[in-house]
């Protein structure tokens, strides 16, 4: 027998004692005149009713009242039967292991530790007929045990659990629980040990006959956290590398905090931010570091002086490394402008002689496998009959895409407008682009017009069956000497943007392989790599399997925020290359650590937060209340029917 609310039992002696005390107090007695009281005196003397013990012993009404009050107190204490019925109970324990569970309370214990304690109590209270299963969830679901009645196994599973830095999504866990519940014939129940920050539950339902108990852990508290990180690496055209971070304040008061940026462990810059209550403030840093090939730099953002109960989001990391050169193949019969501009681009790979590889149009073979080694192929006034999958930059000719048609040539063309959101238009002024002649293309609806001219698309972003082409309707060699756009500063910028966009960098290189916790990092596997070792931020190196079919290494299940290191080795165990990537929480919802008051699933009333899990047994308060009612009725009947002890 256990009690969900035993405080009433602790108060029982005082309450019952008060009732007895009332009997000793002078009652407002009904006055009755009798002929003489001396016979009554004799009767009283005989019974010695003046003795309190005797008086109590003989007073059935008092005993009944005590019994009724006792029953009521018992009902309020919510007793549970020792067993959950004849068939037993199947309990599914969903343990939240997300990042917010690492928030600690005033006593220094984390929410996760509190949740484990509560879950252990539930396990301890299981009867022999009951079974339970432990499921951990964050943004994924991990089933740690089978449905078992072995308390040792369940305790072992609970003790093996560790909190992660992942965001929370309860919905997949509930779906998994429903699947498990559909396979059991016993009385089920679902217990969620969490702080209630469980993500969206839209469309998530649970059978109505399955009791849902939300065992809430955690205290309310304000939190300052880094909720966004980004690093933009300059294109090498005068742009510097910028690091950005956003700080969120979930408290009710404005907070001032220092945001530090360290590079390889050394403080590089710091800013003081005042974050309004419930608001987000971003800070940008200019990062001036010299990047060397093969050496990555670790950027670390940290909040100085946040002193909140949730330290996980007080740090964030990013990796800076020198980008790989872009391999460009120029297919042209001779174009000084293109050749010069590409040769001057520091991101473009050059031959040892310092030139961009050039191929004559007549030597172009679509089935040449070496074409795959180039990130971008520039087709100057040349339309091959077919193109293999790849990225192409076309000038004065259309690619052989079915929905890009060449309608002929137009003269005296100007630019009307351009799509400023497209990466190739970044820092480019097309107003000076005056074309004596241009090809008139008709593009399909799926193709994106980047620059629109008086006679149709001037620049077209076309895609077709694994091929992508930036199609320029103008011929660079057709510009007059006087006022040619090729002499305008916009031209090399446009060319650099186009090459980077086609190479997959969008004009700027996304800094340091940023991954969210719980996500999957994808790394290019160097040639000759036979094995890879992954070193988590706070763990030991462990081997990860390399897929022979794919040249990419995927690292899923990033539990911990920080910098991960992947060491690629050849068959002889020699280091080929070491790659870094950073995983961060950066989740505004997860940084809101205010515990929720309830969990609401579709089609059922909200499950209110409770501080302790109910036992698996059935509640007996109704029986206790009925007993109390019965005692009250008997007492009333005796009082009114003159039935005495």
């Amino acid at each position: 027998m256990q009690f969900l609310n035993p405080s009433w039992l602790f108060a029982a002696p005082a309450i019952l004692g008060a009732l007895v005390l009332l009997y000793f107090l002078k009652l407002k007695r009904r006055e009755v005149t009798v002929s003489s009281t001396f016979l009554w005196h004799r009767a009283l003397d005989e019974l010695r009713v003046n003795s309190p013990l005797q008086r109590l012993r003989m007073n059935l009404l008092l005993f009944l009242q005590l019994a009724a009050l006792g029953g009521l107190l018992l009902a309020l204490a919510r007793p549970l039967s020792a067993v959950g019925g004849l068939g037993g109970v199947d309990s599914i324990l969903l343990i939240d292991v997300s990042a917010s569970m690492r928030a600690h309370d005033a006593a220094g214990k984390t929410r996760f530790e509190r949740a484990i304690l509560q879950a252990e109590r539930v396990v301890d209270d299981l009867s022999r007929r009951d079974r339970a299963i432990i499921i951990a969830f964050a943004d994924d679901v991990r089933v740690l045990t089978d449905l078992t009645s072995s308390k040792a196994l369940l305790r072992q599973a609970l003790s093996s659990l560790r909190p992660t830095d992942r965001p929370t999504r309860l919905a997949p866990a509930v779906h998994r629980a429903r699947t498990l519940l559909s396979q059991t014939t016993r009385r089920p129940r679902l217990l969620v040990f969490s702080d209630g920050r469980v993500g969206a539950l839209t469309g998530v339902s649970l059978e109505k006959d399955v009791p849902l108990e939300f065992v809430a852990v955690g205290e309310a508290g304000a939190n300052l956290g880094i909720v966004a990180v980004d690093v933009t690496q300059g294109a090498g055209l005068g742009e510097s590398t910028r690091a950005l971070a956003s700080v969120q304040n979930t408290g009710r008061d404005p907070r001032t905090v220092g945001l530090d940026l360290s590079v390889d462990g050394e403080l590089a810059d710091s800013q003081e931010l005042t974050v309004p209550p419930g608001g987000v403030v971003s800070a940008s840093f200019d990062v001036s570091v010299f990047l060397e090939p093969g050496r990555a730099r670790r950027l670390r953002f940290s909040l100085d002086g946040s002193k909140d109960p949730f330290p996980v989001d007080d740090e964030a990391w990013a990796i800076l490394e020198q980008p790989e050169p872009i391999r460009v193949l120029l297919v042209s019969g001779g174009n000084l402008f293109l050749h010069s501009a590409l040769s001057e681009d520091p991101r473009v790979w050059k031959t040892p002689l310092g030139d961009v590889p050039i191929l004559a149009p007549e030597d172009f073979r679509p089935d040449d496998p070496s074409l795959r080694d180039h990130d971008v192929v520039v087709l100057d006034r040349f339309t091959p009959p077919e193109l293999p999958p790849g990225n192409y930059l076309c000038f004065g000719a259309r690619p052989p895409f079915p929905d890009v048609q060449d309608l002929g040539q137009a003269e005296d063309c100007r630019v009307l407008d351009w799509d400023e959101s497209h990466p190739v238009t970044r820092f480019v002024n097309f107003a000076n682009l005056v074309m004596p002649t241009m090809r008139v293309f008709k593009a399909g609806e799926r193709q994106r017009v980047v620059v629109r001219g008086t006679h149709g698309p001037v620049v077209l972003d076309a895609r077709d069956a694994g091929r992508r082409a930036l199609v320029c309707a103008f011929d660079l060699m057709s510009f007059p000497v006087e006022g040619a756009w090729t002499f305008d500063p916009s031209f090399p910028i446009f060319l650099a943007n186009a090459v980077r966009s086609l190479a997959g960098e969008g004009g700027v290189r996304r800094g340091g392989r940023l991954v969210r916790c719980g996500g999957t990092a994808t790394l290019e596997v160097p040639a000759g790599a036979a094995r890879a070792l992954l070193t988590p931020p706070d763990g030991e190196p462990r081997p990860v399997s390399l897929s022979k079919e794919d040249d990419a290494l995927r690292v899923p299940g990033l539990d911990r925020a920080g910098v991960y290191t992947v060491r690629f080795e050849d068959a002889a165990g020699e280091l080929l290359e070491e790659r870094l990537f950073a995983a961060n929480l950066v989740d505004p919802d997860e940084s809101r650590i205010e515990p929720a008051a309830s969990i609401e699933l579709v089609g059922r009333p909200p499950a209110p937060a409770t501080t302790a899990a109910e036992g698996a047994g059935e509640e007996l308060w109704k029986i206790a209340a009925l007993l109390a009612l019965a005692f009250v009725m008997v007492e009333w009947w005796i009082y009114n029917r003159r039935v005495f002890l």
Partner: protein
């Protein structure tokens, strides 16, 4: 509150039983009755009563068992010789009989349903009517803590109305002091006769001394113990404050079955004690509940006890 308890709360008043003490039909019915005594009593003049006074009559009437205090001169020695039993010869003598009717008019009598005092008044009235009708000298004393009112012994039917008015005008009030009242009455009425003491005998000072005054004067004593049904079986429940009707003393009780049982045991013991005391002293005794119809008391019970015939 139960109905019975509610009735007792009102503690019985005479209003509900207002009306003549005796109606004419009942007076006519009891006119044929006569009071009897077991002792030789002395009247002042010849009358209709057959006196048991020795020397005044030679007509033998009956024998009866010898009782302490009987005149040894009337022992029937021949019976003693034959049967070895002491028997007293009773002689008939026509002489007037002194009948003393003592009415308890204390506050404790004004209680119960039917009301004890009213019941006692009617008993005294009936006995008085019988006595006056049969040319006995009938005197009445009403007492509480002392002898409050006295109806001097009179003879003849012409005093009927006066007697009834006397009784009607007698209030019930004050504490009971049986001993003082009886002592006073006995001193004021020295002539022997039949004494009928109608009371609830609820006197903290006891009843023994009072009865002894009359027994010592060789009166023929008849104690009529009047109790109400509510005294015999209290209809109480719950927590009560009992208030004594005479002295206002308050007693708090929580009614329970053991308490009621103890009360009844005490009441039975009290009645038994009184009965035994009377019998030991040659006095007759009868407990009557006011639930018993008054007519049945007079015509049946008192007849069986040979107070009337």
């Amino acid at each position: 509150m139960s109905d019975a308890a509610r009735q007792i709360d009102q503690a019985g008043t005479l209003d509900e039983e207002a009306g003549p003490l005796l109606d004419q039909a009942f007076i006519a019915k009891i006119g044929k009755l006569d009071l009897t005594t077991r002792r030789l009593l002395q009247g002042r003049q010849k009358g209709e009563k057959r006196s048991k006074k020795r020397g005044q009559s030679v007509e033998f009437a009956d024998h009866r068992q010898y009782a302490p205090g009987d005149d040894l001169r009337f022992l029937d020695w021949s019976i003693y010789a034959r049967l070895d039993r002491l028997m007293v010869k009773l002689f008939l003598e026509e002489e007037d009989l002194y009948v003393y009717l003592l009415l308890d008019a204390s506050a404790s009598m004004d209680y119960g349903r039917p009301n004890k005092f009213r019941y006692a008044q009617r008993v005294v009235a009936a006995l008085g009517v019988i006595g006056l009708t049969k040319m006995n000298r009938v005197g009445v004393g009403a007492f509480s803590s002392e002898l409050n009112r006295v109806f001097r012994p009179e003879r003849g039917r012409r005093h009927l109305r006066k007697l009834l008015r006397f009784l009607e005008e007698t209030p019930s009030d004050g504490r009971t002091d049986l001993a003082a009242a009886c002592r006073r009455f006995a001193l004021e009425h020295p002539r022997r006769g039949l004494v009928v003491l109608v009371s609830d005998f609820l006197d903290r000072g006891g009843y023994e001394e009072a009865i002894r005054y009359f027994v010592a004067r060789r009166m023929d004593v008849f104690c009529l113990h009047v109790l109400s049904p509510q005294e015999l079986d209290p209809p109480f429940a719950g927590d009560l404050k009992l208030i004594d009707a005479e002295d206002g003393e308050e007693t708090e009780i929580t009614v329970s079955r053991p308490l009621l049982a103890a009360y009844r045991r005490n009441l039975d013991a009290y009645i038994d004690g009184l009965r035994t005391f009377c019998h030991k002293r040659g006095a007759r005794y009868l407990t009557v509940s006011t639930a018993l119809p008054f007519e049945r008391l007079v015509l049946d019970q008192l007849r069986q006890l040979r107070l009337v015939r």
